[in-house]
Symmetry: C2
Amino acid sequence: MASEELSNKRILLKSYVTGFPSEDDMILTSATVPAKLPPGSTALLLKNLFLSCDPYMRSRMSKPVATSYRASYEPGSVIVGYGVSKVIDSGNPDFKVGDLVWGITGWEEYTVVESPQGLSKIKYTDIPLSYYTGILGMPGLTAYVGFNHICSPKTGETVYVSAASGAVGQLVGQFAKLLGCYVVGSAGSKEKVDLLKNKLGFDDAFNYKEEKDLDAALKRCFPDGIDIYFENVGGKMLDAVLLNMKVYGRIAVCGLISQYNLTQKEGIYNIMAILQKRLRIQGFIEPDHKHLYPEFLETIIGYIREGKVTYVEDIVEGIEKAPLALVGLFTGQNVGKQVVLVAHE
Amino acid sequence: MASEELSNKRILLKSYVTGFPSEDDMILTSATVPAKLPPGSTALLLKNLFLSCDPYMRSRMSKPVATSYRASYEPGSVIVGYGVSKVIDSGNPDFKVGDLVWGITGWEEYTVVESPQGLSKIKYTDIPLSYYTGILGMPGLTAYVGFNHICSPKTGETVYVSAASGAVGQLVGQFAKLLGCYVVGSAGSKEKVDLLKNKLGFDDAFNYKEEKDLDAALKRCFPDGIDIYFENVGGKMLDAVLLNMKVYGRIAVCGLISQYNLTQKEGIYNIMAILQKRLRIQGFIEPDHKHLYPEFLETIIGYIREGKVTYVEDIVEGIEKAPLALVGLFTGQNVGKQVVLVAHE
């Protein structure tokens, strides 16, 4: 029995990435993993079902810098990220074979996890398990904390969301609508704009790639200005937004995806607006707010069951497709939350 | 009696200013004002004692733009600003002849104020009256609100103040020291740096004009990073500070004096730090916080009487010198709060 082995396809980082990542920055390898943990092990052996592609992963592909809030991946080592997995062997009394978990796992078919610190048992299984990489996982809590806590929203306020059809943005817009805000989103294709307007309930939406003048686009959508900007992109969009914020406006900085692959970042010129309009700009990351997950989970499960929120996923099948799916985030190939289906339960 | 007139030197704005203001952008004129208000007037006739030169006045010298929070001056009209005045005639039952007031007045020897809304009676006269343009006036409340309310400071935190010997900065540093923070200031001359270190109690200070690399200067002064940045200048300094903020750092944007005279503002490139370090950047202006003035006044009067704070003023004598004093703010000619003594009581 101890000699039985499972074939284990894995995705490794080839070397540190500069500029835009490409599929070639990762390597697909074939390895094996013992089908059982060795006697006395306290680890978990996971069968990975879904892997999550998230923009923050780009920073982990770069050479380590002091300002990173997450460690870089090691070249030659397996990519690590959020996923949904099934416990197929356990040396930990808190987990048993058959348990479904979500959290930090490897980009491979099977992962041995020494410490289950980054894993949570899945409480509700009556919704798609892939949701634990999105609406019920890190992106969901990000949207919840970012909008409800960081943005200090009030009913009737105007809300602008960039990258609005993405894993986080689509939820921010729906949370804002549930509160009675006026919500406009931007995205990078007609398909995504249609999704925002027709499926996700945004009041309005525009394709930023088709707008020559972002300032004019924002003035068209928000003739009286923006109370809340949920920032996912940065760069020229942020600069245009600053010109269109209302007095006492708030900007939650959740992501700056337009800047992640630039070796020389774009300048922001309209800083005077922060003073003139008494803006509050606040950066946040989800790991700082994990303690709110239980509160969030009960809220969002209720919303899902009552049909108050919906969630758009872009699921590719096969771990081989994970590298292309990940790099596609940075050119907007995904429509909705990008997920990789590795195996059926 | 009604025909008696007072000679009234006045400073008018010549025309809207672009770029750095110069003395020539203002005109000194001689006019007269009746020595008594007409019968039935409800106005106040003020004899102006001190006039205040403040950086925000630069924006009022520009052509009006929608984003201004204060109206532009009218070319050909008298400059308006904070000052200390004596009531020499009154048609308002709340003010009597001989009352000392501070607040909004004209840049002239005598001003007729139709509505006393912008004026407050001076409560304490055992300290220099000029202090009501500074430590006891708008700059004082600005420093108090900006540091204690906007920056959310805690004992032991590291605080950096730019334009640190100015009207606001010198108080921010002293408030931070009173709370037990480690405080470093920057200014633009050896004289000012000496003042910060030897008179105003800053832990350290540097002359930004002598630093080739602002990032390196900040790393030298704050090897473990900055918790709080009190922003008075903007531009390259803000960009360097972003690289040196600690996680959860706060930046109160009080002024951006390096940018006021630029037709093309400088870009800020290190925006990623807002996300990576979860920074809070908040703009504020004193008029939004007027309700805190009574609380502030009692606190600061106590500090002054107990010798807990000191205040450095740069007083020029004669209204003729007001234009040069005002434009000198933008090249750092003033050492401490810039005041113009117009007349003795």
